[in-house]
Symmetry: C2
Subunit: 231 residues, 2 copies
């Protein structure tokens, strides 16, 4: 839990620490740095042409986002996500996305509602064309809209944390076209429930949406890459 001022993320783009942070974040999420790999301050500093100081501070931020783990006097290691972690995250997200959808039903603004509708419309278009990258992007954005719409910065922050945490896994899941379309349908149903002002139904649907996403992941065996199967 931390950094509730999201405007900082913008400001940070212009500081060295911010740039180092973003670069490392991207490299970890893209898989350049693998799990349990050690990140050395000098090596990364030299690679990016900065001193150790901003690198060290970027490390603290990455730890804050759960992407690395710092062991005192030893080093910084890329965080490993076990299958059990992924399972737990989806269990937690199921509850919280449900709560989020319920709150959003009352709090969503007209602009957010319109963006959500547009998002779903676009997603269906890209699904029919088989544009996987765009679909993944739109899926991320759908959830972000929902998080913002619930009008709770505590809930929004927690959900964004978890969302980002499973990004590495989730990207691959959506690559299966059938799940992509099913996911879109579920988004549409959630959106319609919110639009109709049916908070209970929105909560229930968002709940199920997460469980379905996890079931699909397990079915495709996509959690195994993170170690042993969740028990």
């Amino acid at each position: 839990m931390a950094n509730y001022d999201l405007k900082n993320e913008v400001n940070d783009k212009y500081s060295l620490r911010g740039r180092v942070f973003q670069k490392l974040r991207e490299d970890i999420l893209s898989g350049k740095y693998k799990e349990h790999e050690e990140l050395k301050e000098v090596a990364i500093g030299e690679e990016l042409g900065v001193s150790r100081t901003p690198v060290r501070e970027a490390f603290r931020q990455l730890e804050l986002e759960g992407l690395i783990q710092i062991v005192p006097n030893k080093g910084a290691y890329v965080t490993g996500i076990t299958a059990k972690d992924v399972k737990d995250i989806y269990m937690i997200r199921s509850l919280l996305e449900g709560l989020c959808a319920r709150l959003a039903t009352e709090k969503i603004t007209k602009e957010q509602m319109e963006e959500m509708e547009e998002n779903i419309y676009l997603a269906e278009f890209h699904a029919s064309k088989g544009h996987m990258d765009q679909m993944a992007e739109l899926d991320n954005r759908f959830h972000d809209i929902l998080y913002e719409a619930c009008d709770s910065k505590m809930l929004e922050h927690t959900l964004k944390d978890y969302h980002q945490y499973v990004l590495r896994v989730r990207q691959k899941t959506l690559a299966t076209n059938t799940r992509g379309r099913a996911s879109n349908d579920e988004h549409r149903q959630i959106m319609e429930a919110i639009k109709a002002g049916d908070a209970d139904r929105a909560e229930q649907l968002a709940n199920k949406h997460m469980l379905n996403a996890y079931d699909n992941m397990v079915k495709n065996g996509l959690t195994e890459i993170y170690g042993e199967e969740a028990k």
Copy 2:
């Protein structure tokens, strides 16, 4: 989300950064540094006899714990909790403590069960004696045991974050003797449900326990100190 290796907290006791971190954490939670107060690197460094570097790093950790907020090129400010935040946190905790209790029903070890029973026994003793400090301590510990017992480091970490976040508010709530006893009773019921292996009931009770705690806070007007009333 961050710092999943709790052993670091122990190691950090022996580093300057760790000591600065602990000191500031204590001072913020105890109210020495008030909300929105600015923390200056040099001033704190001089006060503790260290340079700016460990102070800066401690700041990053405090931000990680949500106790301060760092604004680039400006400063570090003690995080303000609004009444709305407190309300949202209890709403979220209600769901997650429920999930935690449910999971704990299956995963709790014999040792944890025994500590939990002992905790409740002791709490009732101190309640009868009017020992408020001990009761607050035991209340914290009860929840920590529950978090550990659920056997999910993701859930445990999130709950500990939120728990700590409302510590400043919660301390005061328990000061009312009647709520202290009611809280103990609820702990006992949760414990008994877990012991009986009734996961559904444990979840439901933990759920209600949080909502009751929040209701009591509102009733006593204790959230108003954090700004306007939650709407």
